[in-house]
Structures are given as structure tokens and as C-alpha cells.
Symmetry: C3
Subunit: 206 residues, 3 copies
């Protein structure tokens, strides 16, 4: 993957995650700056956590000004036109699934590059994908969506695992597309069919 | 700024932030050790986060024992005399604004020193100022004050931005005083006049 | 202490902490993957935080695959047989106290090894012991147990302080057993007698 393409995809993923953070902020009736801070935490949190854990400091989000400007501008647009975005939640969920797919793959590849074993790189790739949303939910006082009855972390782990193996075996980079597709399709089908992972024995699905 | 003066100002800011953490703990009826832990998280959280993000490990708070002793003793004093502190909330808000001003300026300068660009250094300066309070609120189950309708993060960003430019342009250190004053005055006037940043279109101020 | 023994004790402590995280997840009716993520955060959070703060990256939990597999398998077992574990909460509290004792001692020794002063190493040892549980509670929307009226952080700090002094003075490693025993006995007696640290003046014990 060329560096330019990777940067564009990365910024697109950040923008999508940031818009979900901004929507949560708008619904909590935060002011414009609270919305911006929550959007930036959501868009950048997963990648910053990954960079901290592999010792890549300062994290990419602080090295390149575009990583700060993109989620900030996104939050302003969502803030100004939130009724439009609010009505398109379905489309945002699909874009969020795309962001998740992208981040779990790039996160796993970057972790592999840093010398982690396949299992750790998969875990870190998953964390890159789900970390920003977890921070968004904890900071705004919601139970993290990753803990609720929706398949979210499992597809991210699956995509990250494939990407880690691809990197470890030095296979063609085209296989990364497969890794992302597995995560994306799994997540989207789960969303549309209302799939969820098994609940504890004795608990009934709501 | 001489190192001794900087250390004294830093410890004063930590003590003030710690006292706000201790007051929240007392109101939640935590025991003395819970109050101490919450006070230390509040006083040291922003600076530790900043140090982690620029790779300055172990963070200053763990290198110098005074950084641990000051917020601990502060928490004990607040714990013992909390009715007195509780009545002086107005004064504590002013001191908190002073701590915010100090941390956003020193945080931005330290981030610039570590080689970040002006925008990233401003963001990190702001994070140094607001980080401890965010951790305090998340850990004690409150919506972070920075997300509520009070101008808090904006003055911190403004002060950090000026400080970053001052450091970047290598201007006289006296300009740092201006950076801090902008943050302080903005915050204090916003508090006194009940200013708040714009809410989402369609939301009414409470 | 031999490295093998240390690894076994470390993994045992992780498994115990992970089981407390899994039980919280089961009670919140999370699905199997949510339970696993919460269990891993609880088991590994304290050690990862310690490693980040002393700059030991990637943290041990990402260097050795066993650190990921142990809490994951633990969470599956608790998930499948949660009524059994739920009934044995008393035993789990005792095991949790054992995990706390172990982590505060190893955390302090590792921090000393990294060159921290005695006070900082004690604080970091305590944080290693209480960090995972704090993350578990914050992520699942509970007030952290360390803030409630139970002696939890104090015994951890005491054990870590003794361990730091032992390491600093280069005393026989047998003294580490004493450090752990102090934390363990203190915590267990506090649990059984319902001890708690002093509440703020004017507050009545519930």
C-alpha cells in the first residue's frame, strides 16, 4: 500500500470515528468545544493507545498536524448540521464498520512491524479499532458499546489476526484487503441481522 | 524562568488541582485513602499523560518525590478541614483557573521542547491542563467538567497556543506570562459572567 | 526468586484478577466477548500501566503470548460456569487479596529495578496492584472499589513500600515474602472484620 493511500484511508477512518464521537456529544448537549474534544478522543484514541504500547512516541497523531485538524473540522461540521447526521445513523454505522476494518488491519500491521508476535499484534490491532470508541463511551458516561450485545470486538480481532499472519508470512499486501473485508462484512451482517455473541448461560437475550 | 521558580509554580498548581480532587472525594464520602488517591490522580494526571505522550519516562511525577508528597499532604488537609474548603469553593475555582493557566503554558513549552509542531504542542498543553480533571471526573463517575457548559478547554487551548508560538519563535520568556494571563482572565471572566461556548443548534441553554 | 516461579506467580495473579473482571462482566450481562475484554483489562491493566510509566515498551503483556492466553481462557471458564464462581465470591476475594499482594511486591521491585526512588517505586507498586481493578470498574460504569469504604489501596501501598526498601537495601529476597504477607494479612483481616479507613469528619459510616 502506498504511503499516500494509507494516510488518506487513515484520515478517513479518523473522520468517521470522530463523527460518531461528535454525535454522542451533541446528544449529551455538550457545547461546541466539548463536542470537539470528545470527537478527537474518539478519532485518535485507538491509534494513540497503540503507539504508546509499542513505544512509538510521540504518537503519529502528534507528529502530523493533519491528524488533529481532520477530527476537529469533522466535529464542527457535525455540530452545525447534527440533525442531518442524526437521521443518517444507519449510514454512519456502516462507515464506522469501515473505520473499524481499516484500523484493525493497519493497527495489526504496525504492531507486527514493531516486532510483536502474531497474537499480541492481533490483540493490539483489535485495540486500535475499538479503543477510541471505548474512550468516547467511558468519557461520556455510557457503557462502552463494545461491551453491549453487538458483535464489535470479534470482527475486529478476526481482521487483525488475518492481517498479522499476512505480515508475519510476508504475503502479498493484497491480502490485507481480505483481512479488512472479513471484518467489514462480519460486522455489517451482524448489524443487519441483529447477531450477537453468546450471553452468559442462564441469561435471556433482550 | 528559573528552574526553582518553575518547580514552585508546578507544585502549587498540583496542590490546587489535588484539592479539587480531594473535595470531590469528600463529597462522594470516600475514605481517607480513596480521597488521597483521587487527589493524586487529579493533581498529577495531566502532567503524566503529557510525559507519556512525548516519551519522557519515567514521568517527572515519579522522578522527584516532592511531586507525590505535595498532593498527598494536600489531600490530608482537605480531608481534615473539608467544611472550610467546601465553603470556599469560589476561591478554589479561582485557584483552579490559575493552575489551568500554569499547566497549559508549561505543558506547551515542554511539548515544544520535545520537538512537536506548534499545533500539537498547543493540543498537548491543553491536555496537560484539562487531563487531571478529566481523570478525576471519569474515575468518580461524573461527566467531565470540561464537557459541561463552562468555558474550560478553550482558554486552556488559547494559552497553550500562545506559549507554543512564543517558544517556537524563541521570543522572550516574559511572553509566557501573557499566555498564562490570557487563559486565566478568559476563564475567570467566563466563570463570573456565566459565559459558555455555543450549544448544538436547536438546544436551549439551561 | 527464580524467573520460572515469578512467571507462574504472575500468571496466577493475572488469572485471579481476570476472574473478578469476568464475574463483573457476567453480572452486567455482557456477551462472551465483552466478558473476555473486561477480564483481560482487569488482569493485565495494572502491569501494562506500570510498564508504560517506566518506559518498558512493549509491555510484558504483549511480549509473551501466555500473558494474553491465560486471562482469555480464564474468562471463558468463568463465563461457562459463572453460577459456581458467583457462589464462591468469598474465596475469590481471598484469591484477589493474594493477587494484590503479589502484584504490589513485584510491581515495586520492577520499578526499583528501573531506577525509581523508594517512594515512587512504592506508589507504582500500589498502582500495579490496584490499576486493573480500577480500569475494570471505570469501564463497566461502577465506582472503583478502591474508592469505596474497604481497605484496599492501603495494604497494597504497605506491601509495596516494604518491597521497595528490601530492593533498595539489597536485602535477602526472602524479605519479599514478608512484604507480600503484610499486604495479604492486612487485606484479609480488614475484609473479615469489616475494617475501613477513616471517613471524612462529619460523615457517618453506613
Amino acid at each position: 500500500m502506498s504511503d499516500t493511500l494509507l494516510l488518506i484511508l487513515d484520515l478517513a477512518g479518523i473522520a468517521v470515528f470522530a463523527s460518531t464521537g461528535a454525535l454522542v456529544g451533541v446528544r449529551k448537549e455538550l457545547d461546541v468545544f466539548g463536542v470537539a474534544v470528545l470527537a478527537m478522543i474518539t478519532g485518535l484514541g485507538g491509534g494513540v493507545l497503540r503507539d504508546l504500547l509499542i513505544g512509538a512516541v510521540p504518537p503519529a497523531a502528534l507528529e502530523d498536524w493533519r491528524y488533529l485538524v481532520v477530527p476537529f473540522l469533522t466535529s464542527l461540521v457535525v455540530f452545525a448540521f447534527h440533525p442531518t447526521f442524526g437521521r443518517r445513523e444507519r449510514e454512519i454505522m456502516l462507515l464506522d464498520a469501515l473505520g473499524l476494518s481499516l484500523f484493525c488491519v493497519t493497527g495489526a500491521a504496525i504492531a507486527e512491524e514493531a516486532g510483536l508476535n502474531v497474537l499480541s499484534a492481533s490483540a493490539l490491532g483489535m485495540l486500535t479499532g475499538i479503543g477510541g470508541g471505548m474512550m468516547r463511551d467511558v468519557a461520556s458516561g455510557r457503557v462502552p458499546v463494545v461491551f453491549r450485545g453487538e458483535l464489535y470486538a470479534t470482527p475486529a480481532f478476526a481482521g487483525a489476526l488475518i492481517a498479522s499472519v499476512v505480515h508475519h508470512q510476508d504475503w502479498s499486501q493484497w491480502w490485507y484487503v481480505l483481512a479488512g473485508a472479513v471484518c467489514l462484512v462480519w460486522r455489517v451482517v451482524a448489524l443487519q441481522r441483529g447477531w450477537s455473541a453468546p450471553l452468559p448461560p442462564g441469561t435471556t437475550h433482550v
